[in-house]
């Protein structure tokens, strides 16, 4: 019986990581599900759902030549996997300001309390070494409406952080 696993791969970015890993999984007879692959601070990171009837050991062994050659660290965790169950976001929030510790905790804390379920979050540190700039974009479901999010952020956010909240109205046709 086939099971779902979450494959996590992290390593210094270099050409060919995605091609080598996916080829290896294809040859091992795995189905691929949803994935997020992104470069973070010079590292390449992969989170990938894979479905296979093979035991975990065997799959790790099949991937070993690639992970050793490319110096990647790898995790394989059995998960409860479901496809075709996307939730649609109804709000997009962009946050930016001078980088300092606590922005994410403050913003996400205020939003969670106001009913936001985060579906996707991407953040980056831009600017320069002297003046780092923190930028975060997230999409989610405002379970208590967008106005509740606006209020929560207006009350709790420091003045030097800029926030934009936009509804996402998905057109289906």
């Amino acid at each position: 019986m086939a099971h779902w696993y979450m494959l996590t791969v992290v390593g210094a970015d270099r050409p060919g990581i995605v091609a080598r890993i996916s080829q290896c999984l294809y040859q091992a007879g795995c189905n691929l599900g949803e994935a997020s692959m992104i470069r973070l601070g010079g590292n390449f990171t992969i989170m990938l759902m894979i479905q296979t009837a093979q035991p975990r050991r065997q799959l790790e062994q099949a991937l070993r030549p690639v992970t050793e050659e490319l110096a990647l660290s790898l995790h394989l965790d059995p998960i409860e996997g479901h496809l075709h169950e996307h939730r649609q976001p109804d709000v997009r929030i962009t946050v930016f300001g001078a980088d300092r510790s606590g922005i994410v905790a403050q913003v996400s804390g205020a939003l969670a309390e106001a009913g936001l379920d985060i579906l996707e979050l991407e953040s980056s540190v831009a600017g320069s070494r002297q003046h780092p700039l923190y930028i975060m974009q997230l999409e989610g479901v405002a379970t208590r409406g967008i106005e509740a999010l606006r209020q929560a952020l207006a009350e709790e956010l420091p003045q030097d952080i800029d926030v934009r909240i936009e509804p996402i109205d998905t057109l289906v046709g």
């Binding site: 057109l171 289906v172 046709g173």
Partner: protein
């Protein structure tokens, strides 16, 4: 007259360029009726195009009146619609009855002028903007064998490069 099955990608009929309607007869009325019933039976669609129910004709319905705060013309039954003028670009999220369980960002013109015929063959000219204009462009794409998947832009960034916006195909 009936609710019809919606074709789902990769059905090749969704990739065909639909034929202009020439006769405004009972067959056309039945097509319009089926389209309407099928759209209303689906989950919250604001438009539908004849190719989605397997009819290779240039007929669409759009109706964004479920968003009363947005400018709109109510329910429109449009035959041989053509966009004769467009202005501005805007990114927005789209999904499609023919592409279940996926949505993505697509760049569309903000304001358009549309010429079309009504189901009796009378000419119409309409100015549309925003969500309604987006709905019309999505449906006219179906008539040209295009899906929103053909126009996806990055999911993560709402900024876009204007140069990457594909020019609309010339109408036959």
């Amino acid at each position: 007259m009936a609710i019809r099955d919606i074709l789902v990608y990769p059905d090749p009929r969704l990739k065909q360029v639909a034929e202009p309607v020439e006769r405004f007869d009972a067959e056309l009325r039945e097509l319009v009726h089926d389209l309407e019933q099928t759209m209303d039976a689906g989950p919250g669609a604001v438009g539908i195009a004849a190719p989605q129910i397997g009819s290779c004709r240039r007929v669409i319905i759009i109706d964004v009146s479920s968003r009363p705060k947005l400018k709109n013309h109510g329910r429109l039954y449009l035959v041989n619609p053509e966009i004769i003028h467009w202005e501005g670009l805007e990114t927005g999220r789209e999904g499609c009855l023919s592409v279940p369980d996926y949505t993505g960002n697509v760049v569309r013109a903000q304001r358009i002028r549309v010429s079309a015929l009504d189901p009796h063959g009378r000419p119409l000219e309409l100015d549309m903007e925003g969500f309604e204009a987006r709905a019309l462009q999505h449906e006219v794409d179906h008539l040209d064998g295009l899906l929103f998947l053909d126009r996806l832009v990055s999911r993560r960034h709402d900024l876009f490069k204007r140069k990457t916006y594909q020019a609309r195909k010339d109408k036959p």
